[in-house]
Subunit: 413 residues, 2 copies
């Protein structure tokens, strides 16, 4: 895309009311717009980045048999009353509103209830199981705190997958697969090496749930990491008893701040029993379906990536999630040789299938480089006088600042 | 996809509380789930269909220079107060709720206000114009009536594009382009021949707005069509004065029921003035930006397609929007020759890049054919004894019932 056509502009100063580094940089670079505290719109560069994260997750969920659907924001009070999660003294972060036709409704905080009800119309026999269904859908949470930028929003995108299995054994097989799929997601998104499976408090049906915690000083959670075993324990279960059960030694654990980027949960029959999701087994017996839930917040992952990789010059994206892979920066003026060389290189790269942002605007080199650093695209190709004279282009790696010279043929290869 | 893995099941009877044909059939075929009146979830087959419609629209919006972004559902009361569209006596179909941190918020009924505000941070000079930005985002409307299935929902998907131009002349150029892009969208979605540019009431800045009305008995609108000129007039402006201005003769017009599937609107400076979206022109003068808005409801388009093409046997999809292009129906049992032939055909088609639903389940032929008709996939390939014996497959066109025989080589070509 030609940058002269991109409607967003960057700005030098962070907005005064943003305290989180991720929001400060994303607003400055024109990736997002703050509508209200904890409520952000995604502008073209931000949406492209977010969609790359979404696509990584989608591929890994499809690979373990997930079927994509999309549920609604508006929720049925009667349904949530049956699982005792409607009342404000049970769940404190609902946004509630009313239909003109009568009756209250709420904005989805999560989607166990509606999906379990949907499944009562499609699951009746052991032959219908197991089933794995997921969506990318906004969640709404009426948070009191909203100071972490896009890491904790009042309206945010969530991938939530739910598993429906015949029994504990079948559930366990998928739960283990989902853990591995999650590891792949975080590896592909570039944060695998600092993301730990972290044991946290469970629920009625299991002693622990598993969180995926990415080490970052911007994190709101405290975890204790065993670097050798590559697992961690959340502060909330950091007790001698829990450590013993998990086979961890207090002496080997290091305290870290971390961001919870995902979690996997054994739900047992917590939702299937009150909502009537039963099946008939091989012997004709009626049994409740065993469920699990598996969440990743793509917007939170995006914020986490910013917190981890950004430097004093601006954003730094891993190639897998970057809105464009290459930033071609022309130092020419319309119609001159430099500009013609840059035009040709841009066309060639686009034809070769490379996602390129092309800074074709008239502006000073220093300004362009500063803006390019702020945008954080992994590779910058500079087209100046030297490139025209020698046929060699300067390629700057955003993450390291490393510069190499490459010919057009090498760039296209 | 193997149908044995698809979690949705079809049902024989329509739900008692659905009066609209589109919702009755889509629920029966397992494409959607009704959460509450006017609130529908999209199950795997429904989401695939919807995504195909979305992708057609996206391609046509990109082709005219649209830049995709995504705004939020939660809206800022203060912003909407400035355009006088917050109060319930001005706009009657808001869902409103409150932040725990204090203050009211509402769920987006449309997005002129937030996008205009975003643009105040990115547009300041004539050099920044024109700009075209669009999104696919849910709208929420607290409707009193919700009896048209997915054609009129309380929560529904909308593509809304907004144009930002220097003056009326620049606006007009894009407005005309958008009209042509809309025609392409409806042609590609299979409803072009019965969709008419329809003049309707305008606003402060233009005498008429233009609606895209698709003729259907399920429509809530009454239009008067000039078949020769391929334009129409909405009942609301069906006056001698308006007809004279549009060069239409009452005698040539035919009254029809129709569904409004899109509209394009000249907004003038209705939003830019109160929200402070001004730019500096070539002479240094400060001027308000001239805006337009351009809407299409992908969920409504999907419902309209059902209303138009469905027959007594079930859904009928045009190929461009169908969730799968081909339905392979095996009449074999696991492990027999028929089943092996069907497996091989399915694998070959998938490898050739065809989107195939493969009914690999053990069931009676009559049941399978009835279900295949209900799902509405454009082509059905039957794999039975004959196919194994002769190497020729029966291909049934869903829309016409026409049957042809084809060899495997012909199918793959």
């Amino acid at each position: 895309m030609r940058q002269s056509k991109l409607f967003t502009k960057t700005r030098r100063e962070a907005p005064a009311d943003e305290v989180a580094k991720n929001a400060q940089l994303l607003v400055r670079a024109g990736y997002i717009h703050k509508e209200m505290a904890g409520v952000y719109s995604y502008l073209p560069l931000g949406l492209r980045t977010l969609n790359n994260i979404v696509q990584i997750i989608r591929e890994e969920m499809n690979a373990i048999g997930g079927q994509e659907l999309i549920m609604t924001a508006l929720q049925d009070k009667e349904l949530w009353s049956r699982t005792d999660r409607w009342d404000d003294d049970k769940v404190g972060n609902w946004f509630k509103t009313a239909f003109k036709t009568g009756g209250e409704t709420g904005l989805a905080i999560t989607h166990e209830e509606p999906l379990t009800r949907i499944m009562t119309e499609h699951i009746s026999s052991y032959r219908d199981l197991p089933v794995y269904a997921y969506q990318f859908q906004n969640k709404f949470r009426n948070e009191l705190r909203a100071k972490s930028g896009i890491i904790r929003g009042k309206e945010f995108l969530m991938k939530d997958l739910y598993s429906f299995s015949k029994d504990e054994a079948e559930h366990k097989v998928f739960y283990d697969k989902a853990r591995e799929a999650y590891k792949k997601v975080f590896e592909r998104a570039g944060v695998g090496d600092r993301t730990y499976v972290t044991f946290a408090s469970g629920g009625i049906f299991s002693e622990f749930s598993e969180e995926f915690q990415t080490v970052s000083n911007a994190g709101e959670d405290t975890i204790y990491v065993d670097e050798e075993k590559r697992i961690a324990v959340n502060k909330e279960v950091y007790t001698d008893e829990a450590l013993a059960k998990l086979g961890l030694e207090r002496g080997k654990l290091v305290e870290k701040r971390a961001i919870e980027v995902g979690n996997i949960f054994h739900l047992g029959t917590r939702f299937s029993e009150p909502l009537g999701l039963f099946y008939t087994d091989e012997t004709g017996a009626r049994k409740p379906v065993v469920m699990g839930s598996y969440g990743i917040g793509p917007t939170r992952v995006m914020g986490t990536i910013v917190e981890i990789f950004a430097d004093e010059k601006g954003l730094v994206w891993p190639e897998s999630v970057a809105p464009f892979k290459v930033h071609v920066v022309s130092l020419g003026k319309e119609g001159d040789d430099i500009s013609k060389t840059a035009d040709a290189l841009y066309d060639n790269l686009v034809k070769a299938g490379v996602e390129v942002l092309y800074d074709d605007r008239d502006a000073r080199a220093g300004e362009k480089f500063a803006e390019s650093d702020l945008l954080g695209i992994p590779k910058r190709i500079v087209v100046g006088k030297d490139a025209v004279a020698t046929g060699e282009f300067e390629v700057v790696e955003r993450a390291t600042g490393k510069v190499v010279k490459k010919s057009r043929a090498e760039l296209l290869a």
